[in-house]
């Protein structure tokens, strides 16, 4: 962590980025929470990572307000009446976004934008202007790649305008998901989403059937990278097991599964319990924040996210496989062991009674964390196949289908396509339909020469990466993360489907 002096003299940071970093520095001087020394040791040794959430959790990591309440009732605290037209609706949302906290201090969930705005579409030309300005405002003011908006599953006028303006603006923010179900989403709308995704790396496709079965059809949203969370709720906290490092400590597969995993699951769940109890019982957030008071969120809709990274390297280490191209993702025995580990981990986590998780079956839910830039090449995101070792796309999808069911709070894979696919979005939609049927939860794609590209779960602009390479400050706080992942984890070099 940088010192205050380093932060305020760093010319690659904007004022706002300095401000957030200084706040984190301040938070981390607090020693209130009695973290278990064993946990701190495991963190130091690289077995568990707390993703720099800060020492004293003063708000949940991810918050998904139910913005339909704003549309219906306005907000007393924000002194807003229910909006009556498209200008008032977009303005009310922009005002509210400023007041939705998160781990990054930017709102990680902007709502199901098409559902929220469609009732206000009267004149399409006027609505296009309003939505265009709204999206521009989001990119320039909420300048963080983890700001995420949803559309779909139904084909709406508002949805089409959002896509059209997304294509025109070519921005990295907001990240975007279409909740897709081939029975609810028209082929035309699906193909339009695929077309925009090939050119701007968004929207990604979420398996609406799968999420609906777990959360209820109208009760979930996609936030931050690809995090499936309950609407009017969210995710309390997200630490992660670093499976690749834990495997190095193992003397055998049995030792890994039956000694090490239970030990680290216990340390991590205890850590999560401690943070969640503090958030709910002591911090001001759930007592006084207007989001709670006005019903935009309910505490019982929050869940703790149990993260993991580096399954591929974990499996390869346990099986003594050195050539990644012959290991996890390309080797049935390795894939079988991978699934066995995840199923076992899911079982161990389910045995722990999670506090304040009333609507989540009183347990923590698994999350395949996308990795951070300093993970480098030693630890692939979540349960993904290492970049550079991807098999043919249909095999990669079938592989994803085996693992995605275990991760309701988020997992996904990214595919890079050659430019010609821009001419045939309906062909990409065929692949996406097959992927959803194969049990894939979340599908992202982009074309190789785009300015906007998906790094691990979030978007950056290549043009901003270049500015940062020249040591110039850039608006988007996540560009520096993309720079690290590009350089240390080769995140932009994934296999191209021709």
């Amino acid at each position: 962590m940088s010192t205050a002096y380093e932060i305020v003299t760093d010319t690659t940071l904007t004022y706002h980025q300095q401000f957030i970093n200084l706040a984190k520095l301040g938070e981390n001087t607090d020693t209130t929470l009695p973290y278990n020394p064993e946990f701190l040791k495991a963190k130091e040794a690289g077995m568990i990572c707390d993703l720099f959430e800060g020492a004293l959790p003063f708000r949940p990591r991810y918050i998904l307000p139910d913005y339909s309440i704003l549309m219906k009732n306005g907000s007393k605290f924000l002194q807003l009446d229910p909006p009556k037209d498209i200008w008032e609706a977009t303005s009310a949302l922009m005002i509210m976004y400023r007041h939705v906290p998160s781990v990054s201090s930017f709102p990680v969930f902007l709502g199901n934008l098409d559902e929220l705005l469609d009732p206000f579409i009267v004149d399409e030309q006027e609505a296009t202007k309003a939505i265009g300005l709204f999206l521009l405002h989001i990119d320039r003011v909420l300048c963080d790649s983890f700001v995420h908006a949803d559309i779909g599953p139904k084909d709406t006028k508002a949805g089409r305008i959002i896509l059209k303006e997304t294509l025109r603006l070519q921005t990295a923010v907001p990240n975007m998901t279409v909740r897709y179900d081939s029975e609810l989403t028209s082929d035309e709308f699906g193909a339009l989403c695929a077309e925009v995704m090939l050119s701007t790396a968004k929207p990604s496709f979420a398996n609406h059937k799968m999420f609906s079965a777990e959360f209820g059809e109208k009760n979930y949203g996609l936030a931050s990278c690809y995090n499936g969370l309950r609407l009017a709720g969210g995710g309390y906290t997200l630490p992660r097991l670093r499976l690749a490092n834990i495997a190095k400590e193992a003397t055998s597969i049995d030792h890994f599964k039956n000694v090490l995993l239970p030990k680290y699951v216990d340390l991590m769940t205890e850590f999560m319990d401690l943070r969640i109890r503090f958030m709910v019982e002591d911090s001001a957030f759930f007592k006084s924040n207007f989001l709670v008071k006005e019903g935009f969120i309910k505490q019982e809709n929050f869940v703790g996210m149990f993260g993991l990274v580096g399954l591929a390297e974990c499996v390869n280490t346990l099986m003594g496989i050195e050539d990644k191209k012959k290991g996890y993702g390309n080797n049935k025995n390795a894939d079988d062991l991978g699934e066995e580990i995840i199923a076992h981990l899911d079982h161990l986590v389910s045995l722990h009674k999670a506090p304040y998780s009333e609507n989540s079956a009183d347990r923590y839910w698994l999350h395949a964390q996308v990795g951070i830039e300093r993970d480098g090449l030693d630890s692939s995101p979540g349960a993904r196949i290492p970049i550079g070792s991807e098999p043919e796309i249909h095999k990669q999808i079938a592989h994803s289908g085996r693992f995605h069911k275990y991760f309701p709070t988020g997992i996904g894979d990214i595919f890079r396509f050659e430019e010609t696919w821009k001419n045939t979005p309906e062909s990409l939609l065929d692949i996406i339909k097959g992927a959803m049927n194969a049990g894939m939860r979340y599908f992202s794609a982009y074309c190789e020469n785009n300015d906007v590209v998906r790094v691990t779960g979030y978007l950056v602009k290549r043009s901003e990466l270049e500015k940062l390479d020249r040591k110039e400050a850039v608006l988007n706080g996540a560009t520096v993360l993309g720079q690290g992942s590009r350089d240390m984890a080769h995140a932009l070099d994934r296999k191209v489907t021709k």
């Binding site: 796309i393 999808i397 696919w421 045939t424 062909s427 065929d430 992927a435 049927n437 489907t497």
Partner: protein
């Protein structure tokens, strides 16, 4: 069970008919077009063995007078194809229709069906008939990508199980076609009319060439006058990639001028064509 020589299978193809399809390339072609992008599909291997010593991954071996290819060792560097003087490839698998169906079943939830191309896949019409019958039983579609050398009307049972043909019309001027493809185009023109009459013409493909403006225009005019707006016309811009020396000498090593290519597209539309796509 019938067999055919398979040059390669592309599990996902977005350029071989509507939607995402599995594309199968069969070996051997009676034409030898100037601009052929994959000349290694033209002839069958004669087992001369010239390619064997140059294989860097030792995937080729001469056994009992035949070149043997070990797919598991092959790194697809294509050294063998580059050195082959016979416009052939040692990397051909003889596959049964069931083996092709097995490949299809791996990707069946992602594709609408198959497209068989080549080479010239109509050199193996009985194989296609058997294969397409099995594809139909899976509720999927089968398309043929053909140069029109073989007469489709001679294979009515194949036509019953084939969902459509994408037909190359390389030139409508018989003499020019003879020069360009080393074969005349009488059967191609008959096929164009026949496929249209039985409603199996999915697409007509015309490659637009540099240095032959008059021929390009004539082919477009003649095709549109026959097809009118009843089938999609795909104009393909000449690109030099993969083209052998003979072709480069005649057509040059630059792609067709983009402005001229767009002009052809407008020309086709002005003549009353229906859907015109240009790639």
């Amino acid at each position: 069970m019938l067999f055919a020589p398979v040059n390669r299978i592309i599990p996902f193809s977005n350029v071989d008919g509507p939607g995402n399809r599995m594309a199968i390339f069969l070996q051997s072609c009676p034409f030898q077009c100037w601009y052929c992008h994959n000349p290694e599909t033209i002839n069958m291997c004669i087992h001369c063995g010239i390619c064997v010593p140059g294989c860097p991954s030792k995937a080729l071996a001469m056994t009992h007078g035949k070149v043997h290819w070990d797919e598991s060792l092959c790194e697809q560097c294509d050294s063998c194809i580059k050195i082959c003087p016979h416009l052939a490839s040692p990397k051909i698998l003889t596959m049964s229709s069931d083996e092709v169906i097995d490949k299809l079943s791996e990707v069946s939830s992602f594709v609408r069906g198959i497209t068989v191309s080549g080479g010239e896949c109509m050199m193996h019409p009985e194989f296609l008939e058997e294969l397409f019958g099995k594809v139909k039983a899976l509720n999927m579609t089968s398309l043929i990508d053909s140069n029109g050398f073989v007469r489709f009307e001679d294979y009515p049972r194949l036509m019953d199980v084939c969902d459509g043909v994408m037909l190359d019309v390389k030139a409508t001027d018989p003499k020019f076609h003879q020069q360009l493809a080393k074969h005349d185009n009488a059967s191609v023109m008959d096929n164009l009319r026949y496929l249209l009459s039985v409603n199996k013409l999915t697409e007509v493909r015309i490659v637009c060439l540099p240095r032959f403006d008059e021929q390009n225009r004539k082919t477009i005019e003649d095709v549109v006058s026959i097809v009118k707006d009843q089938a999609r016309i795909k104009l393909i811009r000449y690109r030099p990639y993969g083209v052998r020396k003979e072709g480069l000498d005649i057509l040059g090593s630059a792609s067709l001028d983009e402005e001229l290519f767009l002009e052809y597209r407008r020309y086709a539309q002005s003549l009353g064509a229906g859907e015109v796509v240009s790639v």
